[in-house]
Amino acid sequence: MAKTPIRFSHNREEKAVFVDEGANLLDVLRRSIGDLTPKYGCGQGTCGACTVLVDGAPQLSCLTLAETVDGRAVDTVAGLSDGARLSALQRAFMDNFAAQCGYCTDGMLMSATALLKHNPRPTREEVVEAISGNLCRCTGYEAIINAILDASQGGARRTG
């Protein structure tokens, strides 16, 4: 099978890889780059566990042809923290106990990162909308919504 060379920025670092024809971005990130933060969940774009940012916008990497990110910027959870220093959003997830099994967490973090970047003061409804493509089986979502609101500037979490 023909291999196509692509170059893209991965968490602000230039990467060049050969990809198989039809390979999806999730496989390339996990197998070629070795970034295991995007998760394989359903493989058909319905669970959100593989969410990454492409040029700042959340995208389902399992449905993204790897070739289409040539020359673009791909960001994952692996680039959120500065070494051991977690991002404010990651800290808020910890403080709010927003993860249990953790499988959805990476996708949630990326969807929320994109939201807060473009809308630093989201309403509760906007947070719900932003993560509506990310399934979580454990938390009942409440803790995740609260974490994202806590990480936003002056967002109001539900009390009581």
Binding site: C42, Q44, T46, C47, F97, A99, Q100, C101, G102, V127, V128, E129, I131, S132, L135, C136, R137, C138, T139, G140, Y141, E142, A143, I144, I145, R158, G160
Partner: protein
């Protein structure tokens, strides 16, 4: 056509664990020469907090800081046997096994310390910060690391312990069918307020209020997390989830997350929880197990609330719009309970 408000209540008595083969779990505890302890389990932590809780239990029993304890659940082939993480049994069964193992390891650690300090092991106490000292004489002291290192390199002892928790298999009385399969019950009471649209059959949950009695909450934040998430799953089972909507026919069964429905972040209702702590006499430090039981009261409460709202009694789950509409048709329309009209909304 109207939207009808309904309120439903349910209370549950939940047996912790089961009794097949006595429902045993084992734990092994040993120290390393640096004084840190390893708890080996085959009990799986799938996010419910098994590792955190057994770590706390081991640290408390050993008398060492929680950060000096590591819980290894890596491999059920090489670890000591466990029946599994289900039936809300983990904290109770495994926690008790960890206490037994940690007590045995602690006794060896104190013997090793006693030999170094040239005192009687019965006179030694731990301060929970990594020090062992003579009761009433804090200056006569040795660290747990020094005691473990002495055991390993000088005395030739293993600072280790074995634990198992088993409730002997209960025989069934041939006369009455009576048996005593469990020793510990958790409890919950839960109220659901919801709305039923008699045109679409859709049910929208507005608020949940509950009280859960889980023994001592060994880790209150994890208990809260488990109760919120577990109740969500109960709601999901009550209203959405099924693999065979027309059982025994396999038709229209879901095949992926597009067709297997679960409530999303936009479908959740506020849930106000009161945690009641009544330490269980046979629980590890009084803990029971807020696992599966947090989902259970939601289902009957939702079914009762739907009946309260429109008079349709649905006996098989999930309570789909189709079932609600068929029930309404059979009844000739919505029949809100009489008491409902008197309730202020």
């Amino acid at each position: 056509m109207a939207v009808h408000h309904g309120r439903g209540f349910a209370a549950i008595n939940y047996p912790i664990g089961m009794n097949l083969g006595g429902d045993p779990s084992q734990a092994l505890v040993h120290s390393n020469p640096d004084g840190k302890f390893m708890v080996a389990l085959s009990s799986i932590d799938l996010g419910q907090g098994m590792k955190s809780v057994t770590r706390q239990i081991a640290a408390e029993t050993l008398g060492v800081p929680v950060e000096d304890v590591y819980v290894d659940t890596a491999d059920s082939d090489t670890g000591p046997h466990c029946m599994g993480s289900f039936a809300s049994r983990g904290t109770h069964r495994v926690g008790n096994a960890v206490i037994q193992a940690a007590q045995e390891a602690r006794a060896v650690m104190l013997e090793a310390a006693a030999e170094e300090l040239e005192v009687n092991a019965a006179d030694l106490v731990t301060d929970g910060k990594g020090n062992i000292h003579v009761r009433g004489a804090p200056s006569r002291s040795i660290t747990t690391g020094q005691a473990s290192a002495a055991a390993q390199f000088k005395q030739g002892r293993t600072v280790s312990g074995r634990g198992i928790f088993l409730i002997p298999l209960s025989e069934v009385s041939p006369e009455t069918g009576e048996m005593t399969p469990v020793s510990c019950f958790a409890h919950a009471a839960l109220i659901v307020d919801l709305e039923v649209d008699d045109e679409t059959g859709e049910v929208r949950v507005i608020e949940i209020n509950s009280a859960y009695e889980v023994g001592r909450a060994l880790n209150p934040k994890l208990v809260e997390q488990q109760l919120v998430g577990g109740a969500w799953m109960g709601l999901s089972h009550a209203l959405y989830e099924t693999t065979e909507p027309y059982y025994p026919s396999r038709e229209h069964g879901p095949v992926d997350f597009n067709t297997y429905l679960m409530p999303g972040p936009g479908d959740i209702a506020p849930h106000n929880i009161a945690v009641l702590e009544r330490p269980a006499p046979d629980g590890p430090y009084g803990g029971k197990g807020p696992g599966e039981m947090c989902a259970n009261p939601v289902l009957p409460a939702v079914a009762n609330a739907v009946y309260d709202a429109v008079g349709v009694r649905i006996r098989d789950l999930p309570i789909t719009p189709e079932k609600v509409l068929r029930g309404l048709k059979e009844n000739g329309g919505a029949r809100p309970r009489a008491s409902r009209a008197n309730r202020a909304r």
